[in-house]
Subunit: 265 residues, 2 copies
DNA sequence: TTAATAGTGTCTGTAAGACAATATTGC
DNA sequence: GCAATATTGTCTTACAGACACTATTAA
């Protein structure tokens, strides 16, 4: 940009009044997935402490602090506040969808940028954030409703809620997240992000994760073949030992090789 | 929701002050793709009429009118203002990414929800919108820069600009859109959206579109096989005549069968 | 001993990619 | 006629899915 144009633009910016336009609020919401001890897919929900939708279950989210953080940073902050997990080091935090119907929040026009995160359960340190009474993991289950249609619902120790009972349009958002997770499974490394220890795992641990995400059993033999192809050919995974100290054969262990994400290529 | 809670929530909403939080501006931007007579992929760019980035080329976009339209509607409005194309009837208008670095726009914190649209050239009626001097189609070309690296640039009758010369972070946004378009090509019906007449086309018209998007030549025979498999098996396309009135064989014509999008399934 | 888990092998069908061989159309 | 376009076919390799068989481990 030329010197003269630069000066002209500086002048313009000095006189710019940002209050001219009616602005919506912006939030970053996060659908946080994990795997539990029963090898089931879980999602983190919070019980809302304030209006609107007080006492309803919702996905965690918070308002963007305009001028002070990017929308990605707001999502990372929200993830951290709710789980103690820092979005850096290998945690998947990926943008999912942005919703902005004028009436989706009764307070005011809220545009929500929704992310999904994949976190091993061992890293989770769940705590209710600012405007939440409680935060809790729910098992995601598939079942048939009274009409015989397939429906998704959330199960915790003492309660079970359906997708449609979540606050705002969060049922739709979680549903979208699950579909995206399933769709991406075959061509991304998403599943590895849910392993408790990515540098030390067995083939069938990974298979359990695939099964949980797809809500269906897989064939051991075929999964193994697929896995070994990815292993040798694409060097995404390395075998790190198959025998114990005495040289006796043991279940083979593998290490996931960290790499740049597909989205960036 | 119970009656009492409902009344309580109404009370809360009456006293809610939306000006409590600092809000960013929100825009809907659209990367509009089409195919030209030379079977090359084109993108619509506008020359900015005002500051900032005055006289720079950018993708069309506009501020969300908070409280009066959804973010999807804002994108559809922007598409219409720039091209006269209504987003309904079969035009692909799909959310791509949302960006929100605090300093990506020098005026104020702007969160941009970016869409991509696929429009046949015959429907385009390009006109410069409010704050644009000019709107124009650019051919998207791939070439090698001085360092031998692959780079993408935009070519029009009398000018050629590189990805990095676009206003704001729009180079990144267009680049992301192209990658997404390429990635989705094999498992979506995106390519059909660029046909001049979806209800009457030849196989190799569709192949030209695939070639333009992928920036590479394809094998006729193999493309044909792939196409015919999709045709018979998936009933996505129907043959509508291969012979002329006299019964003489002609190039086969096909009709695309409209269907719900994958994302919604 | 039984049941669950781990690992290997086989068979079938489908599909992608490379490439050869015709046929048809428009100058 | 030639060149570009359209159509069909062949061959190879890869891989997904179904399923059978063996070995090992834990209760």
């Amino acid at each position: 940009m030329s010197e003269e144009r630069n000066r002209e633009e500086q002048e313009f910016l000095k006189n710019y009044d940002p209050s001219r336009y009616e602005r919506p609020s912006v939030t970053a919401d996060v659908v946080i997935f994990t795997m539990d001890e029963d090898n089931e897919l879980n999602v983190l929900l919070i019980k809302r402490g304030g209006h609107p939708f007080k006492d309803c279950w919702a996905i965690p989210g918070g308002f963007l602090e305009a001028g002070r953080e990017s929308i990605d940073e707001a999502a990372a902050r929200e993830l951290y506040e709710e789980t103690g997990v820092k979005a850096a080091d290998g945690i998947e935090l990926r943008q999912l969808i942005t919703v902005g119907e004028p009436d989706r929040d009764p307070r005011t026009h809220v545009v929500s940028v929704v992310y999904m995160a994949l976190v091993p359960k061992g890293l989770l340190n769940i705590k209710a954030g600012d405007d939440a009474k409680e935060a809790r993991l729910f098992k995601i289950r598939r079942g048939y409703d009274e009409n015989g249609g397939l429906s998704t619902y959330f199960v915790s120790s003492d309660c079970s809620i359906t997708m449609k009972n979540l606050a705002f349009d969060h049922g739709f958002l979680v549903s979208t997240a699950i579909k995206r997770l399933q769709g991406r499974l075959s061509y991304t490394d998403d599943a590895f992000a849910l392993l408790e220890d990515k540098s030390r795992f067995e083939i069938y641990e990974l298979m359990k994760i695939h099964e949980a995400i797809l809500f269906q059993k897989l064939d051991r033999s075929n999964f193994r073949k697929m896995f070994l192809r990815s292993l040798v050919d694409r060097q995404r995974v390395k075998e790190i030992g198959k025998y114990d100290a005495a040289g006796k054969p043991k279940t083979a262990l593998y290490r996931y090789m960290e790499r740049k994400d597909y989205d960036d290529e």
